[in-house]
Symmetry: C2
Subunit: 356 residues, 2 copies
């Protein structure tokens, strides 16, 4: 088994999303087809950016928030020559449109609010907002990369020899770092991925990232994990979180909850990659809006009809796992018991360049 | 909502499998594509019959056993003019080949043994075995249809107004009868089907049969049921069983166990369609061989590659649910508590024409 020199491609978000000043466009890797097709969408208008988020060209709480931030960067650039009042209005309208794209993960709202504040400061100081917005959003992406790396490092310390880590969906850049750093530390372990219908992120994204890290990967369907647990073929469950409430509920890709119940039934640990911690604005689960997507997305696989006509469908995109089913949450500031995740805000931030 | 005059097509196995004496062939509906394509495989040799079972042209414990029985019917017809010793040898070799096809459901083994005994009796009496085998197998299919109907009737009594019944895979003819009879009795209820990867039996077979019975059907992915349970959108879980052990373990399509754990966690009933009861030859779960299918079947959907290259896969076709996660087992002889399922053999058999 080879040891790779760096984590797999999706560890660095700049590999998958950026603002291109020359083209005046937001460039986004199409995660719906990666790695079968490596294709970048070029979004030249705010609406194209919003649709890239809504149609899952970009996926995952932080990445889709970054693309929204780059959308504001685009709008700021396109309106840089306009009067300040007009640029201000355009940015607020853009944020309102982007806010409507996907509502469950908390990163989007925070990044929109902070970016608007940066724009307001520039405009208040009498300069166009474009440079300040661009610098701020790029700085946030860079910070997010560092958060993912530190979160992954804390999670890597939870990986033991002989582990068979079950993942669901694609847990993002922190997973890449976790796998890479645990392997670099000499741990011998394997990764079991659920395929994650309907978008098959497990079969494509997680499988490719773990494989590219030099790890053995076993694919199963979404229905199989409990059986593997009963047979001793799973040692730990690891997922990300699209939002964590202050009292420790984990909002994540639909299916996480079902696996958490199965892990709990088999007395297996469930560790969550919590990135930069809980959402300070979400006290508990009833404050979370679960996005419901078009059921038509369940009726076919990659464009081919797989379900009969004349039936309905239901597609909640996320579910909520209560804290008593979660063993620990790894963040960039360390590992926390789920019910004490609010202590994240009391822990030191090791990111020197971060100013809240 | 219309009320249908009869249960949906798959309720009667003769609609999907039969021996055609004129063509000297076993005719089998291709369940891998039904109802998108209604196509019948014509098996003119024992090997074609065995491959139809192995490649899932026919699926489900009783149906695949019936096709194996029809395979013996074909062999008996093809060797009817041969000396008795040669016909006897051909039938035993055929049974050995058919026995190797799929090992988890118990119906196959029982039907092979009993059909061989019928053939031996004919040969011992000095006549070719073809007529006796053909009559016996057709009689077993007819008896199986009656078993499914009575099992479905007992299960229909468990359906209540307002129920949202979650199914997994396609629970077979007894489900069709359960849905039809519960609807005929005036119950108002809905069916939620898991798509059931990799063969999508839920999205195709169960969805079409429930729809054709005039019931509202909602499709979800295999990962979603626990979330629906938490939100009150599921009231009962209903599956079939490929084998039931004498101490109440339920062997069924992979994924059943994970749903049973989720139902138990939410204090929801899990009812099993147990057809003609437990396997008298299987005392408990450790006597059950779980079939493992080619992992390549996980890497694509209907021929289109959906998983990346360079990874492994694991495809256990069945799992085992312990009796404490099962609420009740409905059979043709009534409804039993799982741990007391062996009492099935003490209950009266209402099938007048059945001689054990």
């Amino acid at each position: 088994m080879t040891t790779t020199a760096q984590p797999a491609l999706l560890a660095d978000r700049f590999n998958t999303l950026r603002y291109d000043a020359e083209q005046r466009a937001v460039i986004v890797l199409d995660r719906r087809r990666y790695p079968f097709v490596v294709e970048y969408a070029t979004c030249r208008s705010l609406e194209e950016v919003a649709l890239a988020i809504e149609t899952m060209v970009v996926q995952g709480g932080p990445p889709l928030a970054y693309v929204a931030g780059l959308g504001l960067t685009l709008v700021a650039a396109l309106t840089a020559q306009a009067p300040a009042a007009q640029q201000r209005e355009a940015l607020h309208a853009a944020a309102a449109r982007l806010r409507r794209t996907r509502r469950t993960a908390d990163d989007l709202e925070h990044l929109l609010q902070r970016t608007l504040a940066v724009a307001e400061s520039a405009l208040d100081a009498g300069v166009p907002a474009d440079d300040a917005v661009c610098d701020y959003v790029n700085g946030e992406i860079a910070r997010g990369n560092r958060v993912a790396r530190r979160c992954g490092a804390h999670a890597a310390a939870l990986v033991q020899d002989g582990d068979r880590l079950l993942t669901h969906c694609y847990p993002g850049a922190a997973l890449n770092w976790m796998l890479f750093l645990a392997k670099q530390a000499g741990r011998t372990f394997e990764v079991v991925v659920t395929e994650t219908r309907p978008y098959l992120q497990g079969a494509r994204l997680t499988a490719s990232q773990a494989r590219d890290t030099g790890l053995p990967v076993t694919l199963v369907t979404d229905a199989m994990p409990a059986h593997l647990m009963a047979r001793g073929r799973i040692t730990k469950l690891i997922t990300a979180a699209d939002r964590i409430t202050l009292d420790g509920h984990v909002v994540n890709k639909i299916g996480t909850y079902q696996l958490a119940i199965a892990a709990n039934y088999h007395a297996l640990p469930f560790y969550v990659l919590g990135y930069d911690g809980p959402d300070p604005a979400t006290p508990s689960a009833d404050a979370v809006e679960i996005e419901e997507r078009d059921p038509a997305e369940l009726f076919s696989v990659a464009g081919m009809r797989t379900a009969v006509e004349g039936i309905g469908g239901y597609y909640p995109a996320f579910d909520i796992t209560p804290p008593h089913l979660v063993s620990a949450i790894a963040t960039d500031r360390g590992v926390f018991p789920p019910m004490l995740i609010a202590r994240y805000f009391d822990a030191p931030d090791k990111d020197e360049s971060y100013e809240p």
